[in-house]
Symmetry: C2
Subunit: 396 residues, 2 copies
């Protein structure tokens, strides 16, 4: 008997190689011990939450015997949390944002899906530069749309504007940007974003349905070397920003984020209303009550970014020593070096022989490269030096 749908059966079959790699990594750790394996495969923020989280939990405990302590609230979130978030987001974006532009969501993933459900018609296309977060494809297909990818320019991973312009069709509804980028670490500069906005405005002039820019920005807080992460809000009217507190407050498993509709959009109430509705009907209903309250309490604090920066430098040292070709990441916590020999899956298997776990670029729609997360304990990075050198030596 057929228990599941044909599409989901296909997904499960196609993702089996990732699961296999993951299971091999676990087996390695079991065989040689956790400490013998250098695991750079996961984007799970390892820094503890800021002290405000503990304080917040103690304050919440004081109210936990009251009716409606965790009861329903408006689907867009607690009004007071929304107000506080608006103030913080105004600061981050450098643009005044009012509470009525915000829907508090179950993480950025919840925000992305609620936005897609609100704006996509079946058959629509969502364009994104590759490499990209593999879940984007699923998020589009959830709503009957299709992800169209346009390779970013190697090795800087900046936008290929000409190629993006050419790839726009009547079906293009959203251009999705993730800057700082997972997995490449690229931060798109202001000039490129302005040029992209001009391209989209040219297309919009001929359409009834505007092309949105969806800015997925969970790593906005994590930029290095003083680099600017330009806000898209003043650059392009049809901008929606999604973000989460997974990384900056180490709340990845708690599922708290938001969708922000550009305050400059005249009819923003329609879009905010639609995302509030889709957030409800997709089954999120609302962002978790406690997560909302804790986030509001901890806003403005955050994990210590210098720790990530030091790891970035240590990782660069290791890769330089071993002789890898890469671009220094400007943001997020990933390196995306070139795979020696060109076959990223084969090369990650060679790394695994050296007890180093990495993710092939194929998993991000960009073969020939591989991703290393430096969201790992400090000591793991220098320990990987000889392993990286030995793996590379096999492909010379």
């Amino acid at each position: 008997m057929q228990l599941i749908s044909s599409q989901i059966a296909g997904y499960m079959e196609r993702s089996s190689w990732i699961r296999k790699m993951f299971e091999e990594g676990i087996a390695l750790k079991k065989q040689f011990g956790e400490d013998a394996v250098c695991d750079f495969s996961l984007g799970n923020p390892d820094l503890p939450p800021p002290p405000a989280i503990k304080e917040g939990l103690l304050e919440l405990a004081e109210q936990a015997d009251k009716p409606f302590f965790m009861g329903y609230m408006p689907n867009f979130g607690y009004p007071d949390v929304r107000e506080k978030l608006a103030a913080e987001v105004s600061r981050e974006q450098g643009v005044p944002v009012t509470a009525d532009c915000l829907v508090i969501t179950c993480g950025a993933a919840g925000a992305l899906n609620s936005f897609f459900r609100a704006v996509l018609e079946p058959g629509d296309e969502v364009m994104t530069p590759a490499p990209f977060f593999v879940e984007y494809g699923f998020y589009c297909e959830n709503h009957g749309a299709r992800l169209v990818t346009v390779p970013a320019k190697p090795l800087t991973f900046q936008l290929d504007l000409e190629a993006m312009d050419k790839a726009i069709t009547d079906k293009t509804r959203v251009v999705m940007l993730n800057s700082p980028n997972n997995p490449s670490g690229a931060v798109y500069d202001k000039g490129s974003l302005e040029a992209l906005a001009a391209i989209l405005e040219k297309h919009n002039a001929k359409r009834e349905r505007p092309i949105y820019i969806l800015a997925d920005e969970p790593y906005r807080f994590l930029a290095f070397d003083g680099v600017d992460v330009p806000s898209l809000l003043p650059i392009y009217k049809y901008t929606v920003v999604c973000s989460s507190f997974s990384k900056n407050l180490s709340m990845a498993g708690e599922r708290i984020g938001y969708a922000l509709v550009n305050p400059a959009l005249e009819d923003k109430a329609t879009l905010v209303g639609a995302v509030t509705l889709t957030n409800r009907i997709l089954g999120f209903v609302n962002a978790p009550a406690l997560a909302q309250k804790l986030m509001a309490h901890a806003l403005g604090s955050g994990v210590d970014i210098s720790i990530y920066d030091n790891r970035r430098k240590a990782m660069a040292e290791v890769l330089d020593y071993a002789g890898y070709e890469y671009t220094m990441p400007k943001g997020a916590f990933y390196f995306f070096p070139k795979a020696p020999g060109g076959d990223d899956v084969k090369f990650c298997a060679a790394l695994q022989e050296e007890k180093i776990l990495a993710v092939p670029g194929s998993g991000f729609g960009y073969p020939g490269f591989f991703r290393l997360s430096f969201s790992v304990e400090d000591k793991i990075i220098p320990r990987s030096k000889q392993g990286f050198a030995a793996a590379l030596a096999k492909f010379k």
Copy 2:
């Protein structure tokens, strides 16, 4: 410019009358004061969470400075929480349930959507008896399927098995049951469920894709007069149970629930794996970390059911005094009386004139009736006596 999809624009237009009623209710409260209005329109559990929640929060605060305190966990939930939940669910269902049958979800709404995404093909049909929770229709359409409703028998609101049998087509993939029922308060008896199972097995014998029973059971704990809420697990192999801790632990806004695949299903790993995947790719990713831990801590405790039972009896007294026609609810916290005069929307407007808020049965696919929630402060119920009598008098 068209900011949102045509389907969502249609939803927003169609739901405007509910919003209008809701806004009129708020206006009434503003005009006459909260205490002057008897609001029976909401299903927001008003009892405080059990003391275990406060204890749980204090314990969590002690661990809040540790890395990964709220980090990612497996998409099906924390393994230890899953184990504890399996023990509790085994007790509730009277059937041994192992942890590998469970996916912890963002409330029952998250479980329903993840299950639908896992099993539905575009064009499929989901059958449910009316009256039904209005969100069901959206949940089906999220995944390209269609809700088909079969009226339950008035006034008992038991299943009309003959009509259900006739309404099954090649496209029917799920029969969705909600017992104890929102809004009718009906609890389906074992004989009916066994007869339904026999009907579905008859159809399955001719099909490659089995028809599931999806049992949506957030009110399982809330049955009165010692009535049995039969488990579907021993009755029908293709049963999936969804539930939440919204009502029994007063965690409605915290979004925590589960999907349970029948342990008797030979290939249950495929379905559990698919729901784990869809829970991830729909953007839930996983149930909120803190909610999982709090739920595990509070399992086995629960709100005081006798409070609801006393309110039920008080509400029955009011309706008897005023002379309404209704069936005494056997579970959940709703009455679903006949609307005097037959027009439920018109009658709810008449109630509103008496400062009583109720929801027309049309909102549940069952015109001619109206829903009253008795999840309200005790004192509100007797206060509504004269208002109910006065509204009814207008239709005599």
